[in-house]
């Protein structure tokens, strides 16, 4: 029982992390049809900044990480993706794949191949005992952080004019422009939000590992991207739910598969993904239709 609850809490926190990462991908995809593989490198950049600035205090490190995430995200849009508006989603995916490779090599050049380490928020790395059940404090904290961010984001999307414009653009970009929603602002906004989400993912991931290397963001973005697609990358909440599902499933498989099979846990998840894509190509949570391309 104890073990079940513990693994459930861990799985929910893993799901929450990937849900945020997938949400970042879904936000951008909704607006410009870009499934941004290089989102992982935004996470890596924020993670590096957290590792380097943590000694200055969290109130310095976290704003800087958010700033770096937002700036890099906007730079990608201005430097690369804004010049590819006519490209198909598949071509955009290849471009972001290339950008991801490029940025990883840049990180290698500047920070070396070895991981950089720093104890980030060590006070979160202990267990918590609630009513005789031990759970990781970090898992609880991750769930709380994700919940706070989600509530704030939903409020922003539903209550502010910019948020509503973003939702309109995600629903149908062309119609949104026809009714006078400024395209560049909405696109910039989606990239900025995905940068903030990247910083949040970077924070919880660096607390967990305490070490960052050039490929830090790659495994996160692979699972998040896959989650976004099976949840329905076309819908913001579909992406979120898909990311959560993949994170949850990966973590549960890691806890409960016998040890000689747990090496293959990602393989099971990927097989599951292929199966989902075949039966529901536009996403689990999207009713009918195909993804607009």
């Amino acid at each position: 029982m104890n073990q079940l609850i513990q693994s459930l809490v861990d799985a929910i926190s893993a799901g929450a992390t990937l849900g945020l990462a997938a949400l970042a991908i879904g936000l951008v995809f909704g607006v410009i049809r870009l499934a941004n593989f290089a989102q992982g490198e935004i996470i890596t950049a924020s993670a590096y900044s957290i590792i380097f600035t943590w000694q200055l205090g969290w109130y310095v490190a976290i704003p800087i990480a958010i700033l770096i995430g937002v700036i890099l995200s906007l730079l990608m849009e201005v430097g690369v993706f804004s010049r590819m508006r006519m490209a198909t989603p598949a071509t955009l995916l290849v471009a972001s794949f290339g950008l991801s490779f490029l940025l990883q090599r840049v990180y290698e050049l500047f920070f070396g191949n070895n991981v950089r380490t720093a104890p980030v928020a060590p006070e979160l790395a202990q267990s918590l005992e609630i009513g005789g059940i031990r759970v990781q404090l970090l898992s609880v904290a991750t769930i709380i952080i994700a919940a706070v961010i989600l509530v704030a984001l939903v409020q922003f999307l539903n209550r502010s004019i910019w948020g509503l414009q973003l939702q309109a653009a995600a629903a149908d970009f062309r119609i949104a422009r026809l009714v006078g929603i400024p395209a560049s602002r909405v696109i910039g906004l989606s990239f900025a939000l995905s940068g903030i989400l990247a910083a949040a993912v970077a924070f919880v991931s660096t607390v967990k590992t305490g070490a960052v290397g050039p490929p830090f963001g790659v495994p996160i973005v692979i699972l998040a991207l896959i989650g976004a697609v099976i949840g329905g990358i076309d819908k913001i909440y579909g992406a979120l739910a898909g990311g959560f599902l993949v994170g949850f499933a990966t973590s549960m498989l890691a806890s409960w598969l016998p040890s000689d099979m747990s090496n293959f846990r990602d393989a099971y998840v990927f097989l599951l993904v292929i199966i989902v894509l075949i039966f529901r190509p536009s996403g689990l949570l999207v009713r009918g239709g195909t993804v607009r391309t």
């Binding site: 598949a90 490779f101 293959f264």
Partner: protein, 353 residues
């Protein structure tokens, strides 16, 4: 009139001959440039075969595939298992199924068996994956790449324990033989692109709904294309195993996928000329960059670029190409007979006859 129709028949053949001559010439030139260049160019030829395989599928069907390196990996694995001495296998790969210890094949045959294994995997997954389009196809084939990578990394019954590599692959493949394999792959791709399935696929690529309405079963044609290109990719994997002589799943993953896709994009993914020229140009730039990283003497100056800038430049080439010339160096065209007034598209007869 007669002369023109003869030219029309020979035109596509001309594009094949030019490509074969280019590959042959570049190989001959590099073979005079010292051992290290030769070794590096052998890798380039292996990559070229992968790019040709990618073209056969992506170029004709217009469906994105991140999964071809999975077929390459299986080909490499097969050749590794078939060519390493039984004694060595017993010692180094002791967890394997016992039956794998004793099966052996001559390396030349092993390459083709590797191709068959790659093609077989493609044939098995194709009926399922080929129903997807665009982004979904990209993600599903990517998932295939990751599944195969994980299985090869961790399943010690068919290979080394995780984190270890297959060593002891014989040193038998030289530059010239590799070149003949590359030329063979180009011929096969050329024959394929003239074939009925490839024509139907190109039609479906341009307009899927119209093609389906004309009675083309797009999925069937795609299965044929994927299986054939999986076969070529498997052969490329065998060539990789014999060139590198160390096989490890991590060498046959995302990075190789990136590099070969970048080559295809650089040349232009809609033509065989694009695939071949993209592969060669990318590799030649890479050759130059390796020289530059080690320092080149120009008169009294030593020109060099910092270590680690090479992959950055290669990545930047891909991204810049996609921004400024998304159709690639060749613009998706084949090399045509230069002395003709109106070069037709491949397979399209001139209209003014």
């Amino acid at each position: 009139m007669k002369e023109r129709s003869l030219l029309w028949r020979l035109g596509p053949l001309w594009s094949l001959v030019v490509l074969l001559v280019i590959v042959y010439a570049v190989t001959v030139v590099t073979s005079y440039l010292g051992d290290s260049v030769q070794v590096q160019f052998q890798y380039a030829l292996v990559n070229l075969v992968i790019v040709v395989a990618l073209y056969m599928f992506i170029g004709t069907s217009g469906v994105l595939s991140f999964g071809h390196v999975a077929f390459v990996a299986l080909g490499a694995w097969t050749v590794g298992l078939l060519t390493i001495e039984p004694e060595l296998k017993r010692n180094l790969l002791s967890d394997m199924f016992p039956v794998l210890f004793d099966i052996q094949a001559p390396w030349f045959l092993a390459i083709f068996i590797g191709g068959l294994v790659g093609g077989l995997l493609a044939l098995i997954v194709a009926p399922v994956l080929m129903r997807l389009n665009g982004l979904q196809a990209g993600i599903a084939t990517f998932a295939l790449l990751l599944v195969v990578g994980q299985v090869l990394t961790y399943w010690s019954s068919i290979g080394p324990r995780s984190g270890q590599s297959m060593v002891g692959i014989p040193d038998v493949l030289d530059l010239q033989t590799t070149m003949f394999f590359a030329l063979g792959a180009i011929v096969v791709a050329w024959l394929f692109q003239r074939s009925r399935p490839a024509r139907l696929l190109r039609a479906a690529r341009e307009d899927g709904i119209a093609a389906a309405a004309s009675g083309i079963n797009v999925v069937t044609q795609r299965v044929i294309a994927l299986a054939l290109s999986g076969l070529i990719a498997g052969i490329a994997g065998g060539l990789f195993a014999l060139t590198n002589r160390v096989v490890q799943a991590s060498l046959l993953g995302i990075e190789l996928t990136f590099i070969t896709l970048a080559m295809l994009v650089l040349g232009g993914m809609l033509s065989l000329s694009g695939a071949v020229i993209g592969g060669l140009v990318f590799s030649l730039i890479d050759l130059v960059l390796v020289r530059l990283q080690n320092g080149v003497e120009l008169g009294s100056y030593v020109v060099s670029i910092p270590q680690g800038t090479r992959p950055i430049i290669l990545g930047a080439i891909l991204v810049l190409m996609l921004i400024f010339r998304p159709s690639g160096l060749t613009g998706g065209r084949e090399i045509v007979w230069p002395f003709r007034r109106t070069p037709p598209l491949p397979g399209v007869p001139p209209t003014n006859e």
